[in-house]
């Protein structure tokens, strides 16, 4: 299982002058957060490419954004609400046709409680 130390991410990442670099433990930790298995053989390459990406996006740190409201919607629209009423019909059987493993209408997973 993926169990990188949580402290791996606590180091301050970056100063704008210094290239950002993610190490293998950081990648393992992020992969754990993302519930994503990354093969041991791929960890180094993943770390290298992620470092490239994070280093690239780090140029944003120089942009002067004091007092700028972060964008929430490209057209400044607000979230539309609808009445809390049932509009969909029960399609459980049809939906579960795509499920990898079901029994009696229930989704089956590996045992969670011993």
């Amino acid at each position: 299982m993926l169990d990188a130390p949580r402290s791996a991410l606590l180091n301050p990442i970056t100063t704008p002058e210094k290239p950002v670099s993610l190490d293998k433990d950081q990648v393992r930790h992020i992969a754990m957060l993302a519930r994503l298995h990354v093969a041991d053989d791929d960890i180094q390459e993943t770390a290298d490419k992620l470092s490239r990406i994070v280093d690239f996006v780090d140029q944003l740190s120089k942009a002067p954004t004091d007092g700028v409201t972060p964008m929430a919607h490209p057209l400044n629209a607000s979230q539309r609400l609808r009445a809390d009423s049932v509009t969909e019909t029960d399609e459980r059987d049809r939906v579960q046709e795509n499920a990898p493993l079901v029994r009696d209408g229930l989704y089956l997973v590996p045992r969670v409680i011993e």
């Binding site: 990442i13 992020i30 993302a34 994503l36 740190s61 399609e91 049809r94 795509n98």
Partner: protein, 489 residues
């Protein structure tokens, strides 16, 4: 009339032919299915061919035409990008994760176009979950560019573009999160239109980055883009970000007159990154607009250089959240040797997703994780607001902004797969429109070394008609869009 040349006709021409009874919808569908049979082994543009359904629908279309009940797009064949859910038809999103997924419902784009009378020929190949600019991240292999099979058709809507350019279908749907309709359109000599954010419903369109994704069209002519957009645009209560704004009759309103039109030209778009001959073709196109009555105006977008890094924070962040639904439990790929539930999640996702999708999920998880959210995600959304404000100021003074769609013509398959940043920079001219939610269009404007080049037009919110008119006017005086790759004539 012979049906041998039906694949050479545009949607508008086919519509007239069907109405005149020059040929039947069944003959048309059969002709194009035969094209697909003959050519798709080389192009790999389609992941699923829905021949039986297409012929059924075509028979119904012929009945409607015979009874005088033809709808707006009756009998016109199209392909859908495999990101759109199609009821009862495999919907893979180019991923192993959804290899066996048969959608229980139709995307609104699919149902609206079916209700307008279109006939689905099949589902188009694409970069996995629309993450890519070359179609090389597809689990089902890359699509080949009809103009040169060694080259990429672009991506992520590469299958849609190659199918239209290779004359396997007169038109296709696509989606565009950072350029995924316009870049492949430019690289294949087709017209690609990404509408305003909220113009077309995202319901049933598998989500990549929800604040950027927008459905649109890839066609051979601007008239066809106007026709097809009219069939899919409009408010949808099933998409909470859909905007209730009237849909004009884009096709009937096409207008050639450009006098008084103010066309903005952004200096940064002609900087060093632009390949010289591509730049020359685009400048020539701008000159033509000028001779047709438009005025060229210098425009400054001070923060546009930050659009690619902004995108590569916002899009992966949203993708890491959207793709968390793939858990190996309810649908999609499931690993078969999991020790426990956590292991099931990790292994199913590890096996189901390809390398680029994993990179973006990891990037997104990183920029959203505790301690980094403000430095990356919040910062990017602030820069995004600045970029949108730059566009707003520009559109106070101009009607459209014009420039190149891509920095170079089509590149060879494999040429950019080693370095993600090199690949990401392909979208340097197109990403700004997504960040600001603006409509944008690519129209064929020349060739460099036998490969097509696109002119990129961006408009203000809901200015699709203006973009279509400018491009329509341009096509009235040029014949680039009539050119067809020799092997697919």
């Amino acid at each position: 009339m012979s049906t041998d040349s039906l694949h050479t006709q545009t949607l508008a021409e086919l519509k007239a032919g069907l109405e005149n009874r020059d040929f039947s919808a069944v003959e048309l569908a059969e002709a194009l299915l035969a094209r697909i049979d003959a050519h798709d082994a080389t192009l790999n543009a389609l992941l699923t061919v829905t021949a039986e359904q297409a012929l059924d629908a075509a028979r119904q279309a012929d009945d409607r035409i015979a009874n005088g009940e033809a709808r707006a797009l009756e009998g016109l064949p199209i392909v859908h990008k495999d990101i759109f859910c199609t009821r009862g038809v495999r919907t893979t999103c180019g991923s192993r994760m959804l290899d066996g997924f048969v959608s229980p419902y139709d995307a609104t784009v699919v149902s609206r176009l079916a209700d307008a009378g279109t006939i689905m020929l099949g589902k188009a190949n694409m970069d996995e979950f629309a993450m890519g600019s070359s179609n090389e991240t597809s689990y089902y292999g890359p699509v080949h560019n009809p103009w040169n099979p060694a080259c990429s058709p672009g991506g992520s809507s590469g299958g849609s573009a190659a199918a239209v350019a290779g004359r396997l279908a007169p038109a296709a749907t696509g989606t565009d999160t950072g350029g995924s309709i316009r870049q492949p359109a430019a690289l294949t000599n087709t017209v690609g239109l990404k509408p305003t954010y909220g113009r077309v419903s995202r319901y049933g369109m598998i989500a990549f980055a929800s604040s950027l994704d927008q459905a649109g069209v890839i066609t051979r002519s601007v008239e066809d883009a106007a026709l097809l957009l009219g069939g899919m645009a409009g408010f949808d209560e099933r998409d909470s970000t859909s905007i209730d704004h009237p849909v004009p009759d884009y096709f009937s309103a096409l207008e050639e007159d450009l006098s008084g039109l103010r066309v903005g030209v952004v200096r940064q778009h002609f900087d060093a990154g632009l390949e010289e001959h591509t730049g020359a073709a685009v400048r020539e196109a701008l000159d033509l607009l000028k001779t047709k009555g438009a005025e060229l105006v210098d425009v400054d977008l001070p923060n546009i250089d930050l659009s690619v890094p902004t995108y590569y924070v916002v899009a992966p962040a949203e993708c890491s959240s959207n793709l968390s639904r793939f858990d190996g439990v309810r649908f999609g790929h499931r690993a078969d040797d999991a020790e426990d539930l956590l292991d099931l999640y990790c292994k199913s996702r590890g096996e189901g997703f390809g390398a680029e999708v994993k990179r973006r999920i990891l990037t997104g998880t990183y920029v959203l994780s505790a301690g980094y959210y403000d430095a990356y995600y919040l910062k990017a959304q602030q820069v995004r607001a600045l970029i949108a404000e730059d566009f707003r100021e520009a559109f106070a003074n101009v009607d459209v902004i014009a420039g190149p769609t891509t920095p170079t013509p089509a590149f060879e398959l494999g040429a950019k797969t080693d370095d993600p940043i090199t690949m990401y920079l392909n979208d340097i001219y197109t990403i700004g429109a997504n960040l600001a939610g603006l409509p944008a269009l690519s129209v064929p404007c020349g060739f460099v070394g036998g490969l097509p080049v696109g002119l990129h037009l961006v408009g203000g919110h809901f200015a699709e008609q203006t973009l279509l008119n400018v491009a329509y006017s341009y096509q009235r005086d040029t014949d680039w869009h009539h050119r067809c790759p020799e092997a697919y004539a």
